[in-house]
Symmetry: C2
Subunit: 225 residues, 2 copies
DNA sequence: CGAAAGTTTGAGTTGCTTCAACCGCGGTGG
DNA sequence: CCACCGCGGTTGAAGCAACTCAAACTTTCG
């Protein structure tokens, strides 16, 4: 029991489950299962049936659309405390995306039925669920906007500006290959563009650390011209 | 009262509101407002605050992301009975898309508060709402897949195959300019590709009517090579 | 320490766009 | 009634942004 995870406490801290009452929370904590995924392993793949949702306890998950030709389009990352895989659960369709661990990861899996029970029992849980899906939708629309209406440079600039930073310092949470895929670019193109922005003095890149030297200039790229 | 719309009956027929009880439905029917939008008019534009959702009573609405340069990316169309604009309602963000009428259109508008009330009152309503959002999400992911992992020809083939048809006969619900935008193409490119597919004998195009002559060949384009 | 993965740089290619001209058709006003 | 306009659509020629292919260099990790 030493290495045992306190699932109740963990769930209770998630925004999604925040004001679920104690009984309901305990029920859910008991119902959920721990799933360990090794680095590069999959929580689920395209075509798998969706019978529940996942919550990241430890680690990082990459959600991506695979393609027959081996390339993939990265949609989103999830780290400790975030839920994923909820959307398809409500339809009766198989996953059209895959969830891959970027490092050794511990997930909690909650059955569809238990989620439904929580929805029926607590309307505020339903609202949180709705808000969660809406947020996901919002992110996807942003992605679509980026790919369809912005050129490569603007996508990179936009991405950098959206990253969390402390005094202009950004640390990329994933490697540049993955960032490139998220932006709908090849690694080569991303590398060249970062080099270009560095050359102009807008940013300084060192490995996964990026310093924003001239955020205003980046915004100008995004909007003006 | 002759021209008066029976909102209660209309709402009651929507999948979203199907098994809302009579009292709740009546409440909602009384709460909702009729909104008339002339062709080319907007139900809302990017940046507008979202305080409720819309249901199409009569007409067609085009949801699109506008861009400063005047072009736009079409996301989806909505016709009689479909709801839209629900997603942003749950976040406290303004719309990032615009809803434009493709013809004279009559909408019903329902306030956020009334929706919340229905969610709290009837868990099955919440589930329907969740399913609705999930469906929207699914569609967006398909869109992203198309733009990122398929070439222009595949996108066109995929689109045609997804359209409702009777013995291979498709009728485009919107003009080709709009279809092109939905596919992330220029009108010129779409025209060329349709011509090309016609040339190969896979389809026959006449105005907005498209005959699928060889659906298998189109699927082959999508998957194999 | 060596193999594999990640990153950068260079050179050449291409799929789609852009620009431009043209056609046909429906509506509209003189 | 017909000339005119404007929009939707097609076609051609030229351009370019991003990709592909290839090779070298760097970092990570077993």
């Amino acid at each position: 029991m030493a290495n045992r995870l306190d699932t109740g406490a963990l769930l209770g801290h998630l925004p999604l489950f925040r004001n679920l009452d104690a009984r309901q929370l305990a029920l859910m904590a008991r119902a959920c299962q721990e799933v360990r995924i090794a680095k590069h392993g999959f929580a689920f793949q395209r075509g798998d049936p969706a019978n529940g949702l996942y919550v990241v306890a430890v680690g990082t998950i990459k959600l991506a659309i695979p393609s027959p030709s081996g390339q993939e389009k990265v949609l989103e990352f999830f780290t400790a405390g975030q839920a994923f895989g909820e959307a398809v659960m409500f339809l009766d369709k198989p996953y059209m995306v895959q969830a891959q661990a970027l490092e050794d990861t511990l997930l909690l899996w909650i059955d569809k039925q238990d989620i439904y029970a929580a929805i029926d029992h607590d309307p505020s849980f339903a609202r949180r669920m709705l808000a969660g899906l809406s947020l996901r939708l919002h992110a996807l629309v942003q992605d679509i906007e980026a790919v369809n209406l912005q050129n490569a440079t603007q996508r990179v600039a936009g991405y950098l500006l959206r990253q969390p930073r402390e005094d202009g310092q950004i640390h990329l949470s994933v490697n540049k290959n993955v960032v490139a895929s998220k932006l709908g670019l090849t690694p080569e193109t991303l590398s060249r563009l970062l080099g270009q922005l560095s050359g102009k003095g807008y940013i300084a890149v060192e490995g996964r650390d990026v310093q924003l030297l001239d955020a205003a200039a980046l915004e100008a790229l995004l909007y003006g011209r």
